[in-house]
């Protein structure tokens, strides 16, 4: 009987080896000096490294701005797509995820080139616009899924109890779509904070984000400092997930 639960054991070992242990190693390397001795130097170095600090601040700022832009653009889109009166075909919704199949780097390069041709100077503005391109589908999709599955009798019940359409939205639809909003924010904010390559392409190397700094340190064999920076990012991610209640906001696995 209880035998089938054993089928999870190989994967559990795999997860411990390839997910838990690597994360633990980030902590270990972050707290080691070059010779393997215990130290807090890598952490304190970050807080005195004005370059890293300002990049960190810029990353958080860009991530928050990008998340807000995606939310403001994406929620109405998700709402329209999920509403049978406003949108009859499921194909339109699929059109929004389709660009994700194009290599992200290639798409970003094309976007940057398009901005160039249109005469925009590559900088903060193009970075935000380009990022919105890349991450908008990640915001739309979870919200769309939640709205699509939402039982419309809640909205009808609210109208029945005297709520105007605006009140129905504010007091019922919006609160009930919070799980979708949370996972949307999670799926946009996390990758934006840590993005590298994309920011360089979109700003012509003018704006560096936190992910780039980590990559540069690892690539130049400064593993301990790179690990320390990764640890700081892990903490930020942990906090965000906690705030957004990551346990219940299951990441929606897209299906074709």
């Amino acid at each position: 009987m209880g035998k089938r639960s054993n089928w999870a054991i190989p994967y559990l070992i795999f997860l411990i080896l390839f997910v838990a242990l690597p994360l633990l190693l980030i902590v270990v390397y972050a707290l080691q000096d070059g010779n393997g001795g215990f130290t807090f130097d890598n952490i304190t170095r970050f807080f005195t490294d004005s370059d890293a600090l300002s990049t960190f601040a810029v990353s958080i700022e860009v991530a928050i701005e990008n998340t807000l832009i995606c939310l403001l653009l994406g929620y109405p889109a998700a709402y329209i797509l999920a509403n049978k009166n406003l949108n009859k075909s499921a194909v339109t919704a699929i059109l929004f995820i389709l660009p994700m199949w194009i290599n992200a780097l290639m798409r970003t390069l094309a976007t940057a080139e398009l901005f160039n041709v249109m005469g925009f100077t590559l900088g903060k503005g193009t970075l935000l616009m380009g990022m919105a391109y890349d991450y908008l589908p990640f915001m739309i999709y979870p919200i769309y899924n939640v709205l699509l599955k939402m039982d419309h009798s809640y909205e009808e019940a609210a109208a029945d109890l005297g709520a105007t359409p605006v009140q129905v939205f504010r007091k019922v639809t919006l609160p009930l779509s919070m799980p979708g909003i949370s996972s949307g924010i999670l799926m946009v904010f996390m990758p934006t904070v840590s993005t590298f390559a994309i920011s360089e392409f979109l700003t012509n190397n003018k704006i560096k984000l936190f992910g780039t700094i980590i990559q540069e340190n690892i690539n130049s064999s400064m593993w301990n400092y790179g690990a320390a920076l990764s640890l700081i990012m892990l903490v930020i991610i942990g906090l965000t997930t906690l705030v957004l209640g990551g346990e219940d906001s299951e990441v929606e696995g897209g299906t074709v």
Binding site: P10, F18, I26, L98, R107, V117, A227, I237, T255, V256
Partner: protein, 268 residues
């Protein structure tokens, strides 16, 4: 009125979203080396792509082969591992179940850079020489959770007794898995496989950190290196255009079929 405004908004977003892709497609039909220059209509880039071409095309072809090979192996292994594990997880209870589900969620929430760095440190720590194998292992680690997530709901819908029924009728556990569970779980496995395949194809950061120094290039790392050098290999334009067209056609076919079977069902 509301409807018109809504539709206008949706199409406005879609046009913006697709502009860069259309841009790539247009400039795939000209010979110019620099992206954004129009030197007259030509299908030369398409020819180059298929014949191995002149402008460093051989390296590009190799990158494409690597990408496809890695994606296929990772997706296949992830699908098997993920399906078996999903059955196991589904039959677990309480704290054990929550722990393994928590671990399973980490790779999906973790940003690519962190996944990449952490796996890089793992391979360094284990003195594992990096190359194909490490990239594939890394891809399996971030693909499998998506398979698990796609198979789990199917298990929930399935009658929990059918596995026992198969055993009762004399099937060995292996036969029961193959002849009863897999056919039931097939749709979830398929969408899990497709998702895993796409995630692997699209990955840049994790590959970047785990490929080592043997010169292994996938499409993403190739593009990245190319762009950093300043000159993007022009053959990438027709390649992307082709990939997008194929996906578009496939999706349209799938959708038309679904709509049709839906229409058939509603008559009943």
């Amino acid at each position: 009125m509301r409807k018109v405004l809504s539709q206008a908004y949706i199409w406005f977003l879609l046009i913006i979203l697709y502009a860069p892709i259309v841009f790539i497609a247009i400039f795939s039909f000209t010979e110019a080396k620099a992206f954004g220059n129009w030197t007259g209509f030509s299908v030369k880039l398409y020819e180059n792509l298929f014949t191995g071409g002149v402008n460093g095309g051989a390296a590009l072809i190799l990158a494409i082969k690597n990408t496809l090979l890695i994606a296929l192996i990772s997706a296949a292994v992830s699908t098997i591992l993920g399906t078996v594990s999903a059955i196991g997880i589904f039959n677990l209870k309480g704290k054990k179940k929550r722990t393994i589900q928590f671990l399973n969620n980490i790779p999906m929430i973790n940003p690519d850079v962190i996944t990449g760095v952490s796996l890089f440190l793992l391979f360094v720590f284990l003195h594992f020489s990096q190359g194909y194998l490490t990239v594939i292992l890394a891809h399996i680690s971030f693909c499998t959770p998506y398979v698990v997530l796609n198979v789990m709901p199917r298990l929930g819908q399935m009658n929990p007794n059918i596995y026992e029924a198969a055993l009762d009728l004399g099937a060995t556990p292996w036969q029961a898995l193959r002849k009863v569970l897999v056919p039931q779980l097939y749709p979830g496995m398929l969408s899990g496989f497709i998702l895993a395949f796409t995630m692997s194809l699209d990955d840049f950061a994790v590959t970047f950190f785990t490929r080592g120094t043997i010169g292994l290039e996938t499409l993403s790392t190739y593009i990245y290196a190319d762009a950093r050098k300043g000159g993007l290999t022009p053959e990438l334009r027709p390649l992307m255009t082709l990939i997008f067209t194929i996906i578009l056609v496939l999706l349209i076919i799938i959708n038309v079929r679904q709509e049709r079977s839906k229409a058939n069902k509603t008559i009943r």
